[in-house]
């Protein structure tokens, strides 16, 4: 029997959800607002919320000083490349763990996740030396591989969780009908797990887009993505808050738009299998 929810409670829940949503979104809103202020207005105390002379000057300065499109393109290639490569590697791994588990599958999954617990700086020097030897410093290809490896445990975990929700009998039936392993994964499993794969792709694209340790330490000019673009406007000695906010808004705008348009898929994927 369905629960009855009173209008009053519904209104209260909606108001609460909006309040929490606004609270979470407020830092981003504040960054966007600050990007339209002058430097003096950006540091005014008490802070000015909306009552200021809006200016596009910061965006003009940032455009003039930095080649935004080059940073953006690098971000797209690095985040997109690492996500696609990660999914290609992770699907067979997650299939094996979900449908033909061994005694050690759970241990392997935990071990994979434990690699995320190591502070990145702990392996900076070995990776940097490796990049020098392989000629990969300041290359997009090198970063694609590194970010793919960093996010791989999350991708495998997510896909494993989604695959576990798919009845093994369907795959068995496909096998009985003569499907090869490749056909089973490509034509049976993958289409059934599309919502899960889509949310995995989106989440990992966002993670790779925002990654700021390796992208700052392994790039200089050619492969520098939007994280480096933002870092060039931060300073402990000098007030650049308005310009930094403009650069940050420009850096997060593409991913915000992507998130907005794909929120349905993202939510569908994240709740995949939650209700049986």
């Amino acid at each position: 029997m369905a629960r009855t929810v009173t209008t009053q409670r519904k209104t209260l829940n909606t108001a609460l959800a909006w309040a929490v949503g606004l609270l979470i979104f407020f830092p981003i809103l504040w960054t966007i607002l600050t990007s339209f202020k002058t430097e003096a207005q950006a540091i005014a105390s008490p802070p000015i919320f909306l009552n200021f002379d809006w200016t596009l000057e910061n965006y003009a300065i940032v455009q003039e000083r930095s080649d935004y499109m080059r940073f953006l393109w690098n971000s797209v290639i690095i985040a997109g490349g690492s996500t696609v490569l990660g999914v290609i590697v992770a699907i067979p791994a997650a299939w094996a763990m979900a449908f033909v588990p061994s005694k050690r599958t759970k241990d392997i999954l935990l071990w994979m996740l434990s690699t995320k617990m190591l502070p990145a700086v702990g392996v900076l020097y070995p990776i940097y030396l490796l990049f020098i030897q392989l000629g990969l410093l300041d290359s997009r290809g090198g970063l694609v591989v590194v970010l793919m490896l960093i996010n791989l445990p999350i991708i495998v975990w997510m896909l494993y969780t989604y695959f576990r929700e798919i009845p093994g009998e369907i795959l068995e039936a496909a096998r009985m009908d003569g499907a090869t392993l490749k056909e089973e994964i490509l034509y049976i499993l993958t289409p059934m797990a599309i919502p899960g794969i889509a949310s995995t792709v989106l989440l990992n694209f966002i993670l790779a887009w925002n990654e700021a340790f390796w992208t700052l330490n392994l790039t200089a000019v050619d492969a520098a993505p939007l994280t480096a673009f933002i870092a060039s406007y931060s300073s402990p000695e000098g007030l650049f808050f308005a310009k930094l906010s403009a650069a940050s808004t420009m850096a997060i705008a593409p991913i915000l738009i992507l998130g907005w348009f794909s929120q349905k898929q993202l939510v569908r994927g994240l709740t995949f299998g939650a209700v049986k």
């Binding site: 003096a40 200089a220 520098a224 931060s234 300073s235 402990p236 000098g238 007030l239």
Partner: protein, 433 residues
């Protein structure tokens, strides 16, 4: 056969083109500050004159430090020129990681570099980095509030005077704090300030045997004085205030005095950003009568990492960027108040620059700082607000966190000093001192 020859020719052409492109482009790592950004705007002039292109990698100071340190210690070769400070230069020079800046042209006039700057950027008498701009620290104060408090700022005040003036200028109802000082954790933030201040109280980081000195009374005197004065006259939450937070407070008229980098003088006197631009006075950093003032010395300088393939082009750029001609170029376009300060003697002899209100006090502050003899007692290290040893940054970051915890009221001065002593002793022993 034809295909093979064509491939060989194409490969050769590609190699030549790559080599040519490589030889004509310098990659420079730098910090994001007003003077460095301004220089990037003039780079076209250098390219026009020499045919050498320049690619800039601009990063936040702490990110830059980590990035260039990783690259130079692994011989990564990513950068042809690095912007580094007085802390790194003598250490890296001693390790052979930097190209000595000898053989600079006569027109460059290396003897014109301020002796304090040249000394801090050298190792064993060899210059390893050319100062782009230099700074010390000094008092910036509100002349109108000082007058209202019935006091007059001496040119070289004592800490006792500063404490009394701060109390007299404080007006909590009007949101005016008598004094704003750095309290934020970090060796380059609050750590730099308290170290420079401690010099004037006769404290030191290490004795001649490299033994930490936090258990000596001079450190307790410094911290107790600082905490008492800031609790009485400082802004709320000063434990998390660094340069930018204090700059913001001062520009909005919420500080009676601010002791910080001389480079801030141009910010607080700029009427576009500062509401108190017309009321700012300057004085030397305070002392306690022991013979040392509490001002520091710093320079952002350009250095060439050993192993670069473009040593000559890099030297050419450094000569251009740190030359007298560059200073005149900026002065012509943007006025004398905007030229990079603190690097060359001739700048302070220029009658036009002498008209800039903070020029004299900046020079006096720089000249009164001696990195080879930073405090009252003898020390085994070089540096005023730091000790130029590789271990210092890590140790000082931890120590400054303990001090910030005192400022935030989370522990006592005695507890913080005991922890600082134990931690530093352990680290120094582990490092083999």
């Amino acid at each position: 056969m034809y295909l093979r020859n064509a491939l060989r020719a194409a490969t050769a052409m590609t190699l030549v083109a790559t080599a040519a492109a490589h030889a004509d482009t310098l990659t420079i790592a730098t910090v994001n500050n007003g003077d460095m950004i301004r220089m990037q705007g003039y780079t076209d002039k250098f390219t026009e004159a020499t045919g050498i292109d320049v690619e800039w990698v601009t990063l936040e100071e702490n990110v830059l430090r980590q990035r260039v340190t990783t690259d130079i210690t692994t011989k990564g070769g990513t950068f042809d020129i690095m912007t580094i400070g007085m802390y790194e230069t003598p250490i890296w020079g001693a390790n052979g990681w930097l190209v000595p800046l000898d053989g600079l042209s006569e027109e460059y006039d290396v003897g014109d570099i301020l002796p304090a700057m040249a000394g801090g950027l050298s190792h064993d008498g060899t210059l390893f980095a050319a100062p782009f701009y230099g700074e010390s620290s000094m008092i910036m104060y509100r002349a109108d509030l000082m007058e209202k408090a019935g006091m007059e700022m001496p040119e070289a005040p004592s800490w006792q005077f500063i404490k009394e003036a701060a109390a007299a200028m404080t007006d909590r109802d009007a949101e005016i704090n008598g004094i704003c000082l750095r309290g934020k954790a970090g060796w380059g933030e609050g750590g730099a300030f308290i170290t420079a201040m401690s010099n004037s109280f006769g404290a030191r980081w290490f004795d001649e045997e490299w033994k930490p000195q936090f258990d000596q009374p001079e450190w307790a005197d410094t911290l107790n004085f600082y905490v008492e004065m800031m609790n009485e006259s400082g802004p709320a939450g000063y434990a998390t205030n660094g340069f930018n937070e204090n700059l913001s407070l001062f520009q909005q008229g919420k500080c009676g005095m601010w002791i910080d980098a001389t480079v801030a003088a141009s910010f607080v006197t700029n009427p576009d950003d500062s509401t108190v631009a017309d009321h700012v006075g300057f004085a030397l950093a305070p002392d306690t009568g022991l013979g040392k003032r509490s001002n520091w010395l710093w320079a952002w300088a350009l250095a060439i990492p050993a192993g670069t393939q473009q040593e000559d082009a890099a030297k050419q750029f450094i000569e251009w960027a740190t030359s007298k001609d560059y200073i005149e170029l900026v002065a012509e376009s943007e006025g004398w108040a905007n030229v990079p300060p603190g690097a060359r003697t001739s700048l302070y002899e220029n009658p036009e620059y002498q008209k800039v209100p903070f020029a004299k006090m900046t020079l006096d502050s720089i000249l009164s700082a001696d990195p080879n003899s930073p405090t009252v007692k003898p020390v085994p290290y070089v540096g005023i607000q730091f000790a130029a040893i590789p271990e210092f940054a890590g140790i000082a970051t931890q120590v400054s966190q303990e001090f910030s915890a005192v400022y935030a009221g989370q522990q006592t001065v005695e507890e913080a000093l005991a922890k600082a002593q134990a931690f530093t002793a352990e680290e120094m022993e582990a490092a083999g001192y």
